[in-house]
Amino acid sequence: MQTEKDAIVFGYNEYATQIVKNIRSEYRTVRYYVMSQESLESALEQGYDAALFDLSDDWEELGADHDIRELMVFCALENTANNIFLTISLRAAFETAQIVALAKDQESGNKLTMAGANKVIPMVEATANVITGLLESPVSSTIVHHLLYEESELKLAQITVAENSKFVGKYLHDIRWHEVFGVIILAVVDNTVSTSFVFTGKGQKHQLDPGDMLIVIGYEKDIADFKRSIGGEET
């Protein structure tokens, strides 16, 4: 589902390529920011939108091109120190931009967070997680993988409860959602931004309010039906 947001990806390597490949459908525009003329030509040749940048840039141009509040920035430079420097200079220039940065390990991850990244993707940890998952619990790993990366008909969705929904005021455990709607509600995110899982004591006692966000797993059609019933919208 495309949003009105723009995304920019710093770096031109296999990581950046994979990021662009995966997020392309999610944004209005996606642009590479590369450091060398050679990379720029290569990216343009492949049909991507690309621009040159320098670590010493003051980023005014970036502010002029995009609405910073709606901008998603991915810092995927190969050199860790450069990536941290880039993150910190972007954060210094734009307080509100969403910055996701790649980190090789925990140590650079911490530094990137300190430098102002909203999210850090720890590469080594992520790979190790997938490998151990495949070894220790192959079935659940495969299913979770398909679910997360939308490679199957099963979908993960977040649905907001509407003001006028008939379920407002109901307790989560009052309704057997999985039997009635064929979807499994995993968690509920309160409009006061605390997440609770349905199966925990706190989740059981949760009373649905307008604005609550439900994390739901189900088939596309069931999710759509469920969404209609609860009078909410998928975000």
């Binding site: 995966n22 190790a128 797993i217």
Partner: protein
């Protein structure tokens, strides 16, 4: 060819062709010499026990009368066991039939008369080669008490103690380490012998004629010299003349040198061999492991994977050649084999059964070429073992799969997918990640259904998992390899099904106990 020769050749062919004979011979050979043979350990323990019993009886006999049954056991039973072992070792040492047949066929090919005597000589020489080895001589001496009832020969029982070298691995290692320093020990022995010889003659000449001196014979002098040079110095015999004391001073200084030299030889022998000994021990330990993950390469990802698997109670073995990586893996407390994961020889040295002992091989080197090479090496030895590999460049995916990897994990792709998560449904993804991280106490777990459970629980609704506040995400049907999401209550359960349960880990554990307990009833 005379009749006897004919008979010998015929029977040699018969033995070579006989499966039963060869099987028996190879069984005994394994039992006596092959460390990998599962029975060898028990055989060794039995022999050690017999040796110790023999020595206990010898000691007991010195002052107290020993029961006739024990004496009979010691003199005959134990001796017969040892004799049988000696003969079996001699039998398995060489293959007579093969020597005879080879000689016969060679002579036939060269169209000359079969040289029977020459063949028999070769057979005998081969057996003699065994009989002349130190261990065989010790074995033979240990049997001697059986043939002679003479009191003095009883002492030969002590030779049985030397047999321990054969059965105890650590003693064997000790012996082999010292054997590497033969030349040094020989030099030292020569030096010591010369000093002892000169000192004993000198002290004898100086002291023997002095009536006050306790040294009267050359034997006394020799005894004194040995006691002094070893720095033991009992003090029962001491020189009294000035000249004798001077000799004593020289031999004491020499003694200190001998002692220091001996110590340094032993220490240096062990230091030089230490790595080898440790490596042998590691290989031994590995070959005894029942199920383990073999991690090839120890870089960043491997380091994390290894720690997690260890934490979750799995055995892992790291194989890497890079000294830096080896050091790091050792610091993390892993068992490390300093071999090249891409070389066939590494696995041969390991003596492991890839199919039976290895749960999966993880090629986690940060180089596609090496991973392909490793996967190919493993596949060439075993078609079944699961191979999982990381991928550095997308272009090489096909090559790694062709080399035999079952699964490929490509970090860049993962990063791309995670980036998508953040872009699409960040809240949902975060909730899902919380489920998978360990801090929340909430888990997604696999529960396997076996045949016994199916007898008690035929349908999903009978599981009563909701009592435990668990959500059944779905059932993985093994046979059809498909996932049944959100199954209805009347769904039938089958052996081999895997339930994916989400809930608090405490409740999941209780649920597990609940379904297992009912099974017992």
């Amino acid at each position: 060819m005379n009749l006897i020769a004919r008979f010998v050749v015929d029977s040699a062919y018969l033995r070579l062709a006989s499966e039963g004979y060869q099987r028996k011979k190879s069984f005994f050979n394994d039992l006596l010499n092959n460390d990998d043979c599962p029975y060898k350990r028990y055989f060794d323990y039995m022999m050690i026990a017999l040796i110790l019993m023999s020595v206990v009886i010898l000691i007991g006999e010195v002052k107290y009368p020993v029961n006739d049954v024990w004496l009979f056991f010691n003199n005959y039973i134990i001796s017969i066991v040892f004799l049988s072992e000696y003969l079996l070792r001699m039998w398995t040492y060489s293959d007579n039939s093969k020597i005879i047949v080879e000689q016969y066929e060679k002579d036939q090919m060269l169209q000359r008369r079969f040289r029977f005597e020459y063949a028999m000589k070769k057979v005998l020489l081969k057996k003699l080669e065994y009989a002349r080895s130190v261990t065989a001589i010790i074995d033979l001496l240990a049997i001697v008490p059986f043939f002679h009832q003479m009191r003095l020969l009883r002492i030969f029982i002590l030779f049985r103690v030397f047999k321990l070298f054969r059965y105890a691995n650590s003693l064997r290692t000790f012996g082999s380490v010292l054997a590497t320093k033969k030349f040094e020990f020989f030099t030292l022995m020569m030096f010591t012998s010369i000093v002892v010889f000169i000192s004993s003659v000198l002290i004898y000449v100086m002291e023997a004629n002095n009536p006050d001196s306790p040294i009267n014979t050359l034997y006394d002098a020799f005894y004194w010299a040995v006691v002094t040079i070893s720095t033991v110095g009992f003090g029962d015999i001491t020189p009294i003349t000035d000249a004798g004391r001077f000799v004593a001073m020289i031999i004491i200084v020499a003694g200190v040198a001998v002692l220091a030299f001996t110590t340094s030889i032993i220490v240096s022998a062990f230091t030089e061999k230490l790595d080898e000994i440790k490596e042998r021990k590691t290989v031994d330990d590995v070959s005894k492991l029942k199920r383990f993950y073999l991690i090839c390469g120890f870089e960043d990802v491997a380091q994390q994977v290894a720690s997690r698997l260890r934490r979750d109670g799995y055995d892992i073995i790291v194989m890497d050649q890079d000294p830096e990586h080896i050091k790091r893996a050792k610091e993390h407390g892993h068992i490390v084999l300093p071999y090249d994961p891409g070389a066939l020889d590494s696995y041969k040295r390991l003596r492991i059964d890839l199919g039976k002992q290895v749960k999966a091989v993880l090629c986690l080197l940060e180089d596609d070429v090496l991973n392909v090479y490793t996967a190919l090496t493993i596949r060439s030895m075993n078609k079944e073992v699961r191979i999982l590999s990381t991928l550095v460049h997308e272009d090489n995916r096909k090559k790694i799969l062709m080399a035999g990897a079952d699964e490929v994990v490509y970090t860049q792709e993962l990063v791309g997918m995670i980036a998508k998560e953040f872009s699409g449904k960040p809240v949902a993804m975060e909730a899902f990640h919380a489920l998978r991280s360990e801090q929340t106490g909430v888990k997604l777990e696999e529960i396997a259904i076996d045949e016994w459970m199916v007898e008690n629980y035929t349908q999903v609704e009978e599981l009563q998992h909701e009592k435990y506040h668990l959500i059944l995400l779905g059932i993985h049907k093994k046979e059809k390899d498909w996932f049944l999401f959100n199954p209805i209550g009347t769904t039938f359960l089958e052996a081999g099904d895997i339930l994916l349960m989400i809930g608090e880990s405490v409740f999941i554990n209780e649920f597990r106990i609940h379904i297992h307990q009912k099974r017992k009833k």
